[in-house]
């Protein structure tokens, strides 16, 4: 119950807070403490309201309610905006440093060199499978393997001749 008291004061570390919330939900005794401690808070702050069956009535109504569908939005954690902005800044700075140092240039292979056929096949095959999977979601009859095979990139005939 000491953790319930600290939880309602916003004074628990996040991990302990989450586990305490779970325990409050599970244990009647902790839930009663949560409710009573809030009555005390409201009373000390000048909002005394006599005992009523408010929460019991509400519970009965809530029982009749369907569970709401999954959230359409991901709620940003308070302060997460600043964190995300900071993260974006770090990424941007890293990209700038890499670009300025010229490390982005691939020195091992001339830009115009052809991609080896085997690599191209594997890459295109993966893209094709992903594309096909997307279509399969729309049309279950769609055969992914056949599509992937049919879209493999084959080396040009001249290259095959040369290989022989």
């Amino acid at each position: 119950m000491k953790d319930v008291s600290a939880l309602m004061d916003g004074e628990l570390d996040p991990k302990l807070a989450r586990s305490t919330i779970a325990r409050v939900e599970d244990q009647d005794e902790l839930r009663a403490a949560w409710a009573t401690f809030h009555v005390i808070r409201d009373t000390l702050q000048g909002n005394a309201i006599g005992p009523s069956r408010f929460i019991e009535r509400f519970h009965d109504r809530l029982e009749q309610e369907p569970v709401p569908v999954a959230p359409r939005w991901r709620i940003p954690r308070p302060g997460a905006g600043a964190l995300a902005l900071g993260g974006a800044g770090v990424v941007l700075m890293s990209a700038l440093i890499v670009w300025m140092s010229g490390a982005h240039r691939d020195t091992r292979r001339p830009v115009d060199a052809p991609v080896p056929a085997a690599v191209a096949n594997r890459l295109n095959g993966a893209i094709a499978v992903e594309y096909a999977m997307g279509h399969r979601q729309l049309n279950p009859a769609f055969v992914v393997d056949d599509f992937a095979r049919s879209s493999e990139v084959r080396p040009p005939a001249s290259a095959q001749e040369a290989a022989k």
Binding site: M1, K2, S5, A6, L7, M8, D9, G10, E11, L12, D13, P14, A17, R18, I21, V24, E25, D28, R31, A32, A33, W34, A35, T36, F37, H38, V39, I40, R41, D42, T43, L44, Q45, G46, N47, A48, I49, G50, P51, S52, F54, I55, E56, R57, F58, H59, R61, L62, E63, E65, V67, P68, A70, P71, R72, W73, I75, P76, R77, P78
Partner: protein
Amino acid sequence: MSDREVDHQLVLRAQRGDKLAFELLVNKYERKLQRLLSRLVRDPAEVEDVTQEAFIKAFRALPTFRGESAFYTWLYRIGINTAKNYLAAQGRKAPTTADIAPEDAEEASGDDLARDTNTPEHEMMSRQVAETVNAAMDALPEELRSAIMLREIEGMSYDEIAAIMNCPIGTVRSRIFRAREAIAEQLRPLLGTHKDRRW
């Protein structure tokens, strides 16, 4: 985890279909919301009905809550709209102070509520709760009383209270808890907060 983050956690759980998490939010805000709505809807029984309706609407609207404002700000907005719609449906006009900002609800004194929901029975029950809490506060040892007053009335953090009382944070946490427990002990018979009741 701050108070707002605790609400955020409870909302996330409720959005995943955890109704108990939403009931914890109701436990937390029912009196504040009733106080706010009593400034629009005067009759205590009606205030309770409208408050219930507002919580149900909030529950249904949970999937649309994006967390851009604090949960209570969002809830209070729903509450005020619910009260206005209720009055309009009855052909009654909301008082001129209808556009109450959530922060107004925080600032209004408890006397406002007592005046607004002024039926003898309701007033007597509210007074009983207040007197029980005050008597329990008076009976507390000085260090417990100071700790809970600094927290609940001055709104100080444990850090700030520790600095003022010149003691470790752990001691502050313990004193505040012991104070709440001692007051709760006196309140329980009045509130009926036993294990067999739903809270």
